[in-house]
Structure formats: C-alpha cells, structure tokens
Amino acid sequence: MNFKDYIKWDRMPTTWCPGCAIGTVFKQTAFALAELRLSPEEMTVVSGIGCSGRAAGYFNVDSVHSTHGRALPVAEGIKRANPRLKVVVFSGDGDLVGIGGNHLLHAARRDVDLAVICINNATYGMTGGQMAPTTPAGAKTLTSPHGSAYAPINIQGIVTSNRRHWFARASTFHIVHLQKAIREAVEWPGFAFIEVMGFCIENCGRRLGFLSGHEMLIKLKTDFKLKAGPEGPLGEFELGVVKNDGQIS
C-alpha cells in the first residue's frame, strides 16, 4: 500500500492554515498506516471537534466526525460493536483533555483498544485562541492577556496512573519518532495515547511573538529532546514512550 491510498485527494488542499502542525501529523499518520499495510476496510478514524477534527474527512477510510469532546465514547462504541476494526482517534487537546477530559479518564481506566493521537497546541485554536487546560503557565492567550496563572494539565499522569498503560510524547519536528510511535500505538492491544506537541501559529503563536509556522517548528527542536537512558516517566520537555503491559514489576 502507498500512503496516497489513505487520502481523499478530491478534498485537498486541506482547510488548515499555512504551516499548521496538524498537516504534518496527518501526513505521518498516513505514512504509518501505509507501513502497517492496514487495508482501509479494517480501520476507522474518529475525530472530535476543532481544527484537527477535520482530519477524519480527509482519510479515505470509514470515519466519524463526532460531537465536541465525545470522540472517545464514539470510538469505544465502534470498537465494542466490531472488535476486528482498528480504531484511530485523531483529535486535539481541547477536545480530548479539555471538554472530553472525563471520557479520557475512563477510557484509559477501561483500557479500550484504541490508538489516540492528540495534537497538543496548548490552546483552543479554532475558536480564536482561548486558554486551554494544556496552556503553559505564563503563556499569553486571548483570555489570559497577562499570562496564564495556572499550571498545565499532566496528561502523562492521567494515562499512566492505570497499571496497564501506553503513553508516548512526540513532536511535529521529531517526525521519525512520531511515525514510530503511531505505528506502535496502532499495534498495541489496549489504550495507547500519543501526545503530539504541535503549535498554532494563527491564534496562539502570534500572541507569543512568532511570525510564521516554521519558526514555531524550530522552537520545538530547541525545546524538546528525546529521552535517553532507562525507561521511566518523561520529564516536562522529554519525548519518548512510557508503557506497562500490566505486569507487577
């Protein structure tokens, strides 16, 4: 299979802004699916609301563009009804962690066999750049013009608090790690969550002083480093995979 078989070419170009991080994640997902040789009949893409929710319509597979925050329950229903399907959830941080935070808690607790790709741009991008639960402390947004007063939510802590877990953090600059993580997440028999550190240039980056999308891409390169050394929880600016197959160590 070629990655071009997973994309609806008549709907290109996408509606995303120039240089948007979602386009890179979308492309890497198509590459990863092509490497796994999954046929379009045996997989489903579910997305929530937001800019990243548009991706469900661009994949040339059966897909659902669900309501705000409810991507995980819809995906869980699909998986329970037809366990043969590989279900990929493609959504953003405002949808999965903000509005649908409760569903994330319980889908991770029940260990549903899903691969969740969460694009974390640290803001509510589509609605104009309001402060999200993932906004770093001190970051200026539309609703926090003097800087966010609160610490961001710890997604790694939520997912890895269950004994059996699979969590990865990737960034849109480190694409080899991102593609490997997507492949591993789709193959993992349980709840697999990838937090992809992305950016929003139009509604978040311009308030922070960035002029173009590729400046933010280079910022990801300087900020984030791949975790070296023994396995264990990832630090705030580390990329890697944390997993446990349920064995008591």
Partner: protein, 69 residues
C-alpha cells in the same frame, strides 16, 4: 487522484494547487536548495535527495522522487 505537479528540478515535483506558501520546506532544507521567486518554487540545483521537504510539507505540495543510483 492528486492534481498534477510541476517539475522544478530533475526529480522535484511541486504542486502549486496544494502549496500554501508556508516556507516550511525552505526552512527545513539542510542545503538551502529551495527558494520562492515570484511565488514560484525554485530549485537551485543543490538537492541531495534527503527527502526532508517531502516528509515535513503539511500539504503534500512538494515531492522528491529519488533517482536510482
């Protein structure tokens, strides 16, 4: 199927219908091979076929087909 692209070098295909002029490929290119001239992507003939532009382009607009050695 995908819209036809323009050949801007022996093995570089650029699709103007998909390109949003975000300049990610220009920034990411390690040999500074790509450049915009009058909104047209131009190759300066230094391509080493590392495929980074193909992998980073968010809009499927640039494609490098490696030549067989």
């Amino acid at each position: 199927m995908a819209k036809p692209g323009k050949t801007i070098d022996a093995h570089i295909l650029w699709t103007p219908d998909y390109c949003k002029h975000c300049s990610t490929c220009i920034t990411i290119c390690p040999v500074k091979n790509l450049e915009f001239r009058d909104d047209e992507m131009t190759s300066l003939g230094k391509c080493t076929q590392c495929l980074l532009c193909t992998k980073y382009c968010p809009d499927f607009a640039i494609e490098v087909e490696p030549k067989e050695k």
